[in-house]
């Protein structure tokens, strides 16, 4: 366990080597949520309701989903594919450490680094837009935290799966780019997914995207019954298991193809 703590610690230190980059990255994230909240505020000017949402509910939704995505989508695994293709991953493969745990330690360090900033950003956004956030009962809050953690695990597994592309192609950036673009439209960042027609919603719920932050926000604002919550969490876990299974399959095949370029 000590070795993973040390990996966490060194990753944390490494994350602050370029403080200006960190600050600008956070500023970008802050502005994205700020823009989204501003657009919705403008849309509701002169209207009581839009897309079945009141202004109060919509601002609360966008505020929550912005916070949640900042936590869930922050990851260092975006470089895994190129680390594999360039042979950089050999450094880890040569050592008596578990790759999965190593990547998890690095990812947690990155998330915690971001978390401090997210809290400050959230306070600023809260003071500007004054969303009316009603905290749910403790049980719901715990379920929400659990589902948010599962959302982070789901993104981690998806990133691991994308990383395995590096065994076969240097083109690891393009599919990931597409994935992030999809997230913007399908994970509920810009708007709640239930403003879509029912058929489109059904299709979206066949993908893992809504489980990355949308369902968690719905749990928080109490839109789901207990049954619906359980069902969604079950599907979320099923996605994690399926993607990890696929990752393992491709990882083991990939290692046999691995060229350990450079190193």
């Amino acid at each position: 366990m000590k070795k993973y703590w040390q990996i966490f610690s060194i990753s944390w230190q490494n994350g602050f080597v370029y403080p200006v980059s960190v600050l600008f990255w956070r500023l970008r994230q802050f502005l994205l949520t700020f823009m989204s909240l501003t657009i919705w505020t403008v849309i509701f000017t002169g209207h009581q309701q839009a897309f079945g949402y009141t202004q109060k509910d919509m601002i609360a939704y966008v505020f929550l989903v912005g916070f949640l995505q900042s936590v869930i989508l922050a990851t260092v695994l975006t470089n895994l594919g190129s680390d594999i293709y360039t042979g950089q991953i050999s450094n880890t493969l040569l050592k008596p450490i578990n790759l999965f745990a190593t990547l998890a330690a690095q990812d947690i360090a990155d998330k915690l680094k971001n978390f401090g900033f997210i809290i400050v950003e959230t306070v600023i956004l809260f003071l500007i837009f004054k969303p009316s956030i009603v905290f749910p009962p403790l049980t719901t809050l715990l379920i929400f935290i659990f589902s948010a953690l599962l959302g982070a695990v789901l993104l981690f597994s998806i990133m691991l799966l994308f990383g395995t592309l590096g065994f076969w192609t240097p083109d690891t950036w393009a599919p990931r780019f597409l994935f992030y673009m999809f997230i913007d439209f399908t994970a509920g960042k810009l708007y709640p997914l239930n403003i879509f027609p029912p058929l489109l919603q059904k299709i979206l719920f066949l993908t893992p995207f809504p489980y990355l932050s949308y369902i968690q926000t719905q749990i928080f604002i109490g839109k789901y019954t207990l049954m619906e919550t359980a069902q969604n969490i079950f599907i979320l876990i099923a996605w994690i298991v399926t993607i990890l299974f696929l990752f393992r399959f491709f990882w083991e095949r990939g290692l046999k193809e691995y060229g350990a370029l450079g190193r």
């Binding site: 000590k2 703590w5 040390q6 060194i10 370029y18 040569l94 008596p96 350990a260």
Partner: protein
């Protein structure tokens, strides 16, 4: 005695994409790609025993690094068997990984933006090195390599030589029994090369470590290795003592002559193959077995001020080995 490293008919073939040149070639590669099979390592077998330092010699692309990567479990072989310390390297068992290290002159394991000490502490935790052993080893290594002043400076601010020394420390903190060194002295100046060679020698002596070393500098191999393995295009073409290479491949000796009076080229050509000539100095290549006799003849026939009989340099012999392989 059981060998520490054993390779049996080891092969590694790569499928490599061949891109046609130019813009049209790039566009065509979108729907049609041609692949070529490269035999990086082709049926290599050898055994290495504990405490040996073996020089692995070969031209660029001969298969040296690929072999080292298979020995350290990074690459799966296409076929053949490997055993290192009794383990299959590609099982990647932690018990195995704790007993070897791979150092590559052109790649690093140190965290680039942090001081080397942070990477040392990380390796201490990863290899589960006890505190006492860590402090003892690191103090010794820092003194031996004279890096005490630089281990707290960001790695990216260090010179190549300083970085290489820190790389070696990071790789040796867990006292590995087997060491794979791939071009450890590449890009270093002669002073630094000597420091590293002395260090590798001392490490081998103190820990009885088994070392495979690849290097473009024959000086490294000559100074450190009694035994050498030469590979060419994935095949092993020689395995034995360095002296044997000289006996086997060095057909000539070099006679360096200094004259007290000018002699003509014509007069010299009858004694052997004339390599260099500038009136008062000449270099002749003479068949090894006749060298002493020819030298005696020259001494009595020509106005000699000085004569030297030398072995050709190891570089020249190895070059000859590869050239003779190329002609086959």
């Amino acid at each position: 005695m059981q060998p520490i490293i054993s390779l049996q008919h080891l092969k590694k073939y790569f499928k490599v994409y061949k891109k046609k040149p130019g813009l049209f070639g790039s566009i065509q590669s979108l729907w049609h790609r041609e692949y070529e099979e490269i035999k990086a390592v082709d049926d290599i077998s050898f055994d290495i025993h504990q405490g040996e330092i073996v020089g692995f010699i070969g031209q660029n692309g001969a298969g040296k690094t690929t072999t080292l990567k298979m020995l350290s479990g990074l690459l799966y072989p296409t076929s053949g068997e490997v055993s290192v310390l009794g383990y299959n390297p590609w099982d990647r068992k932690p018990e195995f990984q704790k007993q070897f290290a791979l150092v590559m002159g052109q790649k690093n394991q140190l965290w680039w933006d942090l001081p080397a000490m942070e990477s040392f502490l990380l390796n201490k935790a990863i290899y589960e090195v006890p505190d006492e052993q860590f402090h003892k080893t690191i103090n010794k290594l820092m003194d031996l390599l004279d890096v005490r002043d630089i281990v707290n400076i960001q790695v990216r601010k260090l010179s190549l030589g300083q970085r290489m020394k820190c790389e070696l420390i990071a790789a040796l903190l867990h006292n590995p029994k087997v060491l794979f060194l791939d071009e450890p002295t590449i890009g270093l100046d002669v002073v630094m090369q000597k420091v590293l060679r002395d260090f590798i020698k001392a490490y081998n002596k103190e820990f009885g470590a088994t070392i495979i070393l690849t290097s473009h500098y024959m000086g490294d191999v000559k100074e450190l290795c009694k035994r050498a393995i030469i590979i060419d295009h994935g095949h092993k073409i020689f395995d034995g003592e360095l002296q044997q290479i000289i006996d086997h491949y060095a057909h000539n000796k070099i006679l360096s002559l200094t004259f007290s009076e000018e002699v003509t080229e014509k007069k010299l050509e009858k004694y052997g193959s004339l390599k260099e000539f500038d009136f008062l100095r000449a270099t002749l290549l003479v068949p090894r077995e006749k060298a002493a006799k020819v030298a005696a003849e020259i001494l009595s026939d020509l106005p000699i001020a000085d004569v030297n009989i030398e072995e050709p340099s190891i570089e020249a012999i190895i070059r000859e080995v590869f050239e003779s392989q190329g002609k086959k």
